[in-house]
Symmetry: C2
Subunit: 273 residues, 2 copies
């Protein structure tokens, strides 16, 4: 049935796993408009009863059965949620039994583990990588020896968000090199980057989009003129081609996709946080 | 069987959904050591055959059956992967049919949708929120009127990573207020924050941990002394109590958990990116 459908991401932890898989599922159903709500930290049967009541209220208000994407590990909590009458999709249930059989062990029924990890070493690596990304933003005072990779692009092509994402989610030390006007007068790599060829990844962008972004940042500047954007992008792309630097356009690419492609291209294997 | 087990996150997109749910599942099985590999952008049967070969090689090398956490949408791609002989856990399959029945529509078989969204408005909001977090880091030149929320804490208690996470994943404009020594001489809110009481969230941290973090940043400074850390944390906590500011310790809490709790406490509802 088309129309508006309430969806609840319910979790005993942050709700990130439930929302991630739920979002992927819902994008497959384009005829329905979903109104979503995340309800994290549902870690007792009591709390689950309150949530079930909230779901029932939404069912009444919308006149339609809600969908619950549930990542709670406790069977009693899940049962209490199910009393709401919603369609229950339990994101772990289908996989637990095959894994138990394959691994010949019973899973631990620990709650909210996935994003609650607090291992100091891991946390440290993550925060250090982020500090690295932030202090080495826009190529200031970088020692590229310490970098796992270097994103090269003209100003505002998407380097910073990608560096921060790579740090936060993969603990990768990602540095920036913003191509200056002077760099762009040559079609070879800036001398500073030459020793790090195997760490380089080029980003490019549609000049129309670049113009929009720069216009918002510095309205009516030469920097934001379409001609400037077009010239800079063309020069950067020519340089990437001449130097055989793998390049990706950020125009129609999410930060997640860019990050994933950068890691794959450079052969960097890290577990996600 | 205990021991080392190879796990592959295989996806036609970034692999983030597969890795997120896979990671949650694997943390439930503590007797096995998993070696994981993410293989994104598997979007053809040809590519799937290559990947299946890689999985077979890993099976040989480890002398054990690998586990594949698969988020590929195409049935032929999944079938080609299954020829590897691995235990196949398909993260979407169990939910598609119940959703099709409930929504009375057939899903669209589009590939790699979940993290490939490029809606300009959404992207824009996300990037703007991140620029906001970065330019308003450490309380410099902030107009708190523009902030959705303000994290208040002593230096190095976890404000910046949380602000950046909230921006990247929820498009929330999160500002920082670092408590200065002067602020900490009083047990009331600094005057600048008083108009924004309903946007405030306090972070605290174990002084021992804080000392470790500060020591790494500015070795052997007064700033990094244990006494300084202890005094600052105690004063900040006293102020949060006196002002009834909701507070969370970051010592044993992941960035995801902190972010989720901050949003829930302040009643901010946003869909995740």
């Amino acid at each position: 049935m088309a129309g508006v459908r309430p969806v609840f991401y319910v979790s005993d932890g942050t709700g990130i796993t439930a929302e991630t898989i739920g979002h992927s599922l819902l994008t497959q159903f384009t005829e329905t408009t979903f109104v979503t709500d995340r309800i994290p930290f549902v870690d007792s049967v009591e709390r689950a009863h309150e949530v079930a009541e909230k779901i029932r209220v939404a069912a009444e208000a919308h006149g339609v059965r809600p969908v619950v994407i549930n990542s709670c590990m406790d069977a009693d909590v899940s049962a209490a949620l199910a009393e709401s009458g919603a369609l229950m999709l339990d994101v772990f249930a289908p996989f637990i039994e095959p894994l138990e059989r394959e691994l010949e062990q019973t899973r631990e029924r620990r709650i909210g583990l996935a994003h609650g990890m607090v291992d100091f070493e891991t946390y440290h690596r993550r925060i250090n990588a982020m500090n690295f990304a932030l202090t080495h933003d826009d190529g200031q005072s970088v020692d590229y020896n310490d970098a796992d990779l270097i994103l090269v692009a003209v100003s505002r092509a998407g380097k910073t968000p990608t560096c921060v994402y790579l740090a936060l989610h993969y603990g990768v030390r990602a540095a920036n090199y913003p191509l200056t006007e002077e760099d762009l007068e040559h079609d070879r790599l800036p001398p500073r980057l030459r020793p790090y060829r195997n760490k380089l990844f080029g980003l490019t962008i549609d000049p129309v989009r670049l113009q929009q972004i720069r216009q918002e940042r510095r309205p009516n500047s030469r920097y934001a003129q379409f001609d400037t954007c077009k010239r800079e992008v063309a020069a950067a792309e020519a340089m990437f081609r001449a130097e055989r630097i793998t390049t990706l356009s950020t125009t129609h690419t999410s930060i997640e996709e860019i990050s994933s492609k950068v890691l794959t291209t450079l052969g960097i294997h890290r577990e996600m946080f």
